[in-house]
């Protein structure tokens, strides 16, 4: 705080200057601004001299460096305490919980939209979706195998789960019409949509252990399918089932027959996900074989297991897809 000098404290010369010196003409705003940016008299740039600027820069450099170092030390110490391979909080302990969500590909380009919309006879229109899917499936292609990840891959079966440290293969090459070479059947106005179950570290599905105790809500055709499958091989019970349906009665009519590839669900041997090297999420390709064109079809796909809770409003255990083919 500066003390204003009293005139009585001044020397006579100073007092003379105070009262009688010719006052400088007042500056215009522009001149003032100019003088503020560079004052040649005092050699001040923006109100500070070079030494003042260097001092202040040095101070702030030290101060912010100290702050940054503190943040860095705290962050580093903290990250050291974390396991790089697995999250600190898992399943119930984590906010992610034990209820994996269902996702679909291709992803629509617009924000907050789940509409797959294209013109069946216009390659420029469906090309986007095809490319989107190709990108998504790139990691699944066996010929593009990378050395590190590829070695881990193991052909699994219900009787042959992946050994420790290995991951199960997802073979997308033999999925009928839903292959890249076929443009995922988009050009035939019978698009394929890929479903995937969200990865949750350590999550294991609790399967329906008998075809007699299936939930009432489950669509009849799925029930039928499960009975058929399990009659053939009990191992198929170890499956997270998937069903897709039109949301409204009209949609159900419009949607037409649906083919699920390779299975009608995610086989149990892919679980649990433990951040293995090269882990591939199991996929279900949903092929709409005869969807009605020219109208929007609302589809809801559900995943079925004992420990998958369904809530349409919260979007739990299900995914909402809209398809419009012109």
């Amino acid at each position: 705080m500066t003390v204003k000098k009293r005139p009585s404290d001044l020397t006579s010369l100073e007092r003379f200057n105070l009262y009688y010196r010719e006052k400088e003409p007042p500056l215009t705003a522009g001149q003032k601004a100019k003088r503020f940016i560079w004052n040649p008299k005092t050699k001040q740039f923006c109100g500070r001299t070079a030494s003042s600027w260097s001092k202040i820069s040095l101070f702030y450099f030290i101060f912010y460096a100290a702050l940054a170092i503190l943040v860095a030390i705290c962050m580093w110490t903290f990250l050291q305490l974390l396991d790089a391979r697995q999250p600190k909080w898992q399943l119930e302990g984590s906010i992610i919980g034990t209820n994996p969500g269902l996702g679909f590909r291709p992803t629509p380009p617009e924000v907050a939209s789940s509409v797959i919309w294209y013109k069946g006879n216009d390659p420029g229109s469906y090309q986007f979706w095809v490319r989107e899917l190709s990108n998504f499936l790139k990691v699944y292609k066996r010929d593009g195998k990378k050395a590190g990840a590829g070695q881990n891959i193991h052909n699994c079966d219900f009787k042959l789960p992946a050994p420790a440290g290995k991951v199960c293969d997802v073979d997308i090459s033999a999925w009928g019409p839903c292959v890249e070479d076929n443009s995922f059947a988009y050009h035939k106005s019978t698009p394929c949509v890929f479903l995937k179950l969200n990865k949750i570290f350590g999550w294991k599905p609790v399967f329906y252990n008998s075809s007699d105790t299936l939930p009432q809500m489950m669509p009849d055709d799925l029930k039928e399918h499960i009975r058929n499958m399990t009659a053939y091989d009990k191992n198929y019970l170890n499956m997270v089932w998937v069903s897709c349906q039109g949301e409204n009665p009209a949609d159900r009519e419009n949607i037409g027959p649906i083919q699920y590839l390779p299975y009608r669900g995610f086989p149990g041997y892919y679980f649990p996900y433990t951040n293995q090297e090269g882990y591939l999420s199991p996929l279900v390709a949903v092929h709409l074989q005869r969807p009605k064109t020219g109208m929007l079809i609302n589809i809801e796909c559900r995943a079925w297991a004992h420990n998958i809770v369904y809530d349409r409003h919260e979007g739990m255990g299900s995914v909402h897809i809209e398809i419009m083919i012109e």
């Binding site: 705080m1 912010y64 974390l82 600190k88 984590s94 979007g315």
Partner: protein, 946 residues
């Protein structure tokens, strides 16, 4: 001997039981006398109250049984006596100078107030005497002291001591026996004073030829003829014609009314605090709006939708509103006003108290404010030596000095002042002072004994202006005899006179002459009209200097005020020499060469010249000024940019009081108008109280700065996340304002060590660049860093490592995306992500709250170390605790956390901000240490000392 002594003291009738040989027992005659006095006083307009007391060390021992009494009339007498007490319509006060027994005690219960000495007791042994309790005591006692105590006294002869009486509510006050009379009378004077104010003023006048002896002043009209006598208040503007006055103007049209009107019309400047806050608000608005514009531009450039942008901008502006400021200001002003009232300073205008802290100039009255308004003997000159009364050795010197005896006799005899029977002295201020002085150093009664011895001859005593007296003297008293006056003596006396006069004292010389008993026998007839006795060849006794002494505490007060960089100017109507002397004595002027401007000088000055004079001279005394010139002085000071406080008591001072930034009126001597216009009233008329006010005012401003600093700090972690969100596309961390209470409670902080050692804040704004630098560049950033660290920690614990968060926002906030992948490959649905986001925001919020609590501790002081100040501000402590509890409540209470979008956090997440709190404290202490020691050449002070 008279058994009842009846005296009148002003409007107070005093009845004294005077039968000390019988312990003031009351007989029939005394009953009748008291009854008669009370009944007369009841209808006498000149009497406003009656005081009862007793002679000796007994108040009264009750009924006098030794005097025979006629049975029938006796009851009548007693009944009338009691009835006179009960029906007495005015104030009845008893000064109980000793034990009160029987009827003396029961009548005390009928008095309005009772003051007792410590050795008094109250005793009603009715049951012992086998008579009924009398004097209505069975009714009055239980009311006063309760059933139990009353029964104890009236039935079981309990002897109640004065102390017990005070506790049980039987009496008002207890004093030491030797102090009883003086203290009790002090109280009575106080009561009388309040009486006078309640009594509407009336006047005697002739209207339409009819004599009105009791016309209220307010109903006077033009043309009435008013009778006035010495001591009356002039009721209106009148033209005096032979001790009568014709009313010319009344009400607002009088000279005084015009002055009062001027006061009402003058617009006071807005208070410095109001100006500051207005400025602060303006800057805050500009800052918030420009931030809003920046945010809006950034978000539109980055392609956010319009609605989102609007929400950003509104959030930004709201975050920048210092919501705690107004309650803080109100709280600190109110608190201080309450505290000031306890220190005899009534604050009428709350903002004035803060303005007092900003004061740069005080224009003070002299009489009554700086001085005691009571003449006193200060110096005595006797034969070439000056004795100071204030000298501690004075009393012992006095004992041996012969000449002083003579001065005593002379002073006592040669006086027009009268000592009233009760010990008061009535007369001219100087005469009173001399008698007071003699009383203090010797008993006046002894003086009269000396007189008796010398009755065989006459002695002429004379006092007056030294130059008159000296020329008549031929001899002078020395310590051991008389010496003829030589030129040297004369010169010495002249010097002494000049000396005393220069210090502003009023000088009187004393001389005497013993007349020859032969020439002037006892039967000699003196004639003062045609002087027939010699007044030449006198013997000079000594010279006395009188002065209205400064109040004891004023010098120190002015020293403190000056140390605080405030200029004190004296504006008085007194003579320049007196004014200068007082100014030097109290420290307003430090050299004898201080600049004195008289009212005449002032009248001839142009306003520019006055301005220059004020600039040129720091110590200025205005003498012989008329009260209206005060306004001129105040305005000149304000033109200089000073914040001016003015003290004044008269109606004429009102315009100056109104015009000043702070008008200070006097509680005791102040007129109604001056009190109405003033912002602050000093109940004890004491200048020293102003110093307290200045300290409090500065403290308020300091504490406001602390509060504002504290409030602003929490803006940083509210504003920066929005930038993080927009620029780095990380999910939005949030903050909720829970720091209101701590902000307000910072106004409970005690004043800092340097508060009275620095100049007034001239152009020192509430929010300076330094504070902003500190807030936005330092403290706020640390707080923000703590919040972000906590945020990233929780994210990382759930699998989102910091590096992966940058740029994630688009997918994160997309409701249609149900599988956002974290660093460990887990995929999160929208609901899960949003829950995680809430948890992170809550952690951020808690981290900010914890660091903000530490900031509260840091903001406690601007200058001192926390170690020295301690955590003694319990309001703040509770406030900080409350902030924490509130924050936790917001996080953990079900329902509430949903509403505020917070999340019940894991225990360990609550402590993430601790290292940053420690850094804050270390940094704050380091900063204050640098500021105290002025390290780095004071560069750091320039940077961050707000």
């Amino acid at each position: 001997m008279d058994t009842i002594i009846e005296t009148t003291r002003g409007t107070v009738k005093v009845i004294r039981f005077n039968k000390p040989q019988k312990k003031n027992a009351i007989d029939g005659d005394m009953y009748l006398r008291v009854t008669k006095i009370l009944n007369t006083a009841a209808s006498d307009d000149e009497v406003s109250m009656v005081v009862l007391t007793g002679t000796g060390d007994f108040y009264s021992s009750g009924n006098d049984y030794s005097v025979s009494r006629p049975e029938g009339a006796w009851l009548q007498i007693l009944g009338d006596f009691i009835k006179a007490f009960i029906t007495f319509p005015k104030l009845l006060i008893a000064i109980v100078n000793g034990p009160a027994i029987g009827i003396a005690a029961t009548t005390l219960a009928l008095c309005d107030m009772v003051f007792a000495s410590e050795n008094a007791y109250f005793y009603t042994p009715f049951s012992k005497l086998q008579i009924t309790a009398e004097g209505g005591s069975t009714l009055t006692f239980p009311r006063l002291i309760g059933q139990r105590k009353a029964a104890e006294m009236l039935l079981f002869n309990h002897k109640m001591t004065a102390k017990e009486g005070l506790e049980s509510g039987f009496i008002n006050r207890v004093y030491k026996p030797e102090e009883l009379q003086s203290k009790a009378w002090e109280k009575i004077q106080e009561i009388l004073k309040s009486f006078n104010k309640m009594i509407p003023m009336s006047t005697k006048c002739i209207r339409d030829g009819v004599w009105n002896s009791d016309l209220p002043v307010s109903s006077l009209v033009k043309g009435d003829i008013v009778h006035i006598k010495a001591g009356d208040v002039i009721p209106a503007d009148i033209r005096i014609i032979e001790s009568k006055g014709v009313v010319l103007c009344c009400g607002d049209l009088t000279a005084l009314g015009r002055v009062a009107g001027l006061a009402a019309r003058l617009q006071p400047e807005p208070s410095p605090l109001a100006r500051e806050i207005r400025r602060f608000m303006r800057y805050m608005s500009i800052w918030a709006l420009s931030l809003g514009v920046i945010i809006a531009t950034a978000s539109i450039i980055l392609g956010y939708p319009f609605i989102q942008t609007t929400i950003f901008v509104i959030g930004m502006i709201v975050a920048n509103i210092p919501e705690g400021l107004q309650p803080t200001i109100t709280a600190s002003l109110t608190l201080t006003a309450q505290r000031m009232v306890k220190k005899n300073c009534l604050v009428k205008n709350l903002e004035a108290i803060e303005a007092l802290g900003a004061v740069t100039t005080i224009c003070s009255d002299k009489t009554g404010t700086l001085t005691k308004n009571k003449m006193c003997v200060r110096h005595i000159w006797i034969w070439d030596r000056k004795y100071s009364v204030a000298d501690p050795d004075f009393e012992s010197t006095l004992q041996v000095n012969q000449a002083l005896k003579a001065i005593k006799i002379c002073g006592a005899l040669c006086s027009t002042a009268v000592i009233l029977p009760n010990g008061d002295i009535q007369g001219d201020a100087s005469e009173t002072a001399i008698l007071n002085f003699l009383c203090a150093y010797d008993d006046p009664v002894t003086a009269s004994v000396h007189l008796n011895k010398r009755l065989s001859r006459y002695v002429v005593v004379i006092k007056g202006a030294p130059e008159c007296i000296l020329s008549r003297c031929t001899a002078v008293v020395m310590e051991n005899g008389n010496v003829n006056i030589t030129n040297e003596v004369k010169k010495a006396a002249d010097n002494a006179t000049e000396d005393l006069a220069n210090t502003g004292e009023r000088v009187l010389a004393f001389a005497d002459l013993i007349l020859d008993p032969k020439e002037f026998p006892m039967s000699f007839d003196f004639d003062t009209e045609e002087i027939n006795f010699p007044l030449e060849g006198l013997r000079l006794i000594g010279i006395i200097g009188l002065k209205d002494p400064p109040r004891d505490e004023v010098r120190q007060a002015i020293e403190r005020v000056r140390a605080a960089g405030i200029r004190v100017m004296m504006v008085t109507g007194d003579h320049p020499a007196t004014a200068r002397a007082v100014a030097i004595e109290v420290g307003i002027a430090t050299t004898a060469a201080c600049h004195v401007i008289t009212g005449n000088d002032l009248r001839n000055m142009t306003s520019d010249l006055l301005y220059l004079t004020l600039e040129k001279h720091h110590e200025i005394v205005f003498a012989r000024t008329s009260p209206t010139q005060k306004l001129q002085i105040v305005e000149a000071c304000q033109r200089q940019g000073s914040v001016v406080a003015v003290t004044g008591d008269g109606v004429n001072d009102a315009p100056a009081l109104r015009r000043a930034d702070i008008g200070i009126s006097m509680g005791i001597t102040g007129s109604q108008v001056s009190k109405q216009t003033a912002d602050i009233i000093l109940m004890d008329d004491n200048f020293a109280t102003i110093v307290l006010g200045i300290e409090e005012g500065r403290k308020i401003f300091d504490n406001l700065k602390k509060s504002v600093c504290y409030i602003l700090i929490s803006n940083v972690p509210e504003v920066l996340p929005v930038f993080m969100f927009i620029l780095f596309s990380i999910p939005l961390p949030l903050d909720l304002g829970t720091d209101m209470w701590p902000a307000v409670s910072l106004s409970y902080e005690k004043a800092e060590a340097d508060v009275m050692e620095r100049p007034p804040r001239h152009g020192d704004p509430l929010v300076s660049a330094r504070m902003l630098r500190l807030v936005y560049g330092h403290l706020g950033l640390i707080e923000f860093a703590a919040g972000m660290y906590a945020y990233f920690t929780v994210m990382a614990e759930h699998g989102f490592y910091p590096a992966d968060l940058f740029g994630i926002r688009e997918r994160w906030d997309n409701e249609a995306v149900n599988d956002v992948r974290d660093s460990l490959g887990q995929e999160w649905t929208y609901a899960e992500r949003k829950e995680l986001e809430r948890a992170c925001q809550a952690t951020y919020f808690i981290a900010v709250v914890i660091t903000q609590m530490m900031n509260g501790v840091i903001c406690k002081t601007r200058f001192n170390s926390i170690r020295d100040v301690g955590m003694k501000n319990h309001v703040l402590n509770i406030g900080l605790l409350f902030e924490l509890v509130l924050a936790y409540g917001l996080c953990y209470l079900p329902g509430i956390n949903n509403f505020f979008c917070t999340y019940p956090l894991r225990l360990q997440w609550l402590f993430l901000a601790i290292p940053f709190s420690a850094l804050l404290l270390a940094f704050g202490e380091f900063r204050k240490y640098c500021i105290r020691k002025k390290l780095f050449g004071g560069w750091y002070n320039e940077m961050t000392f707000y």
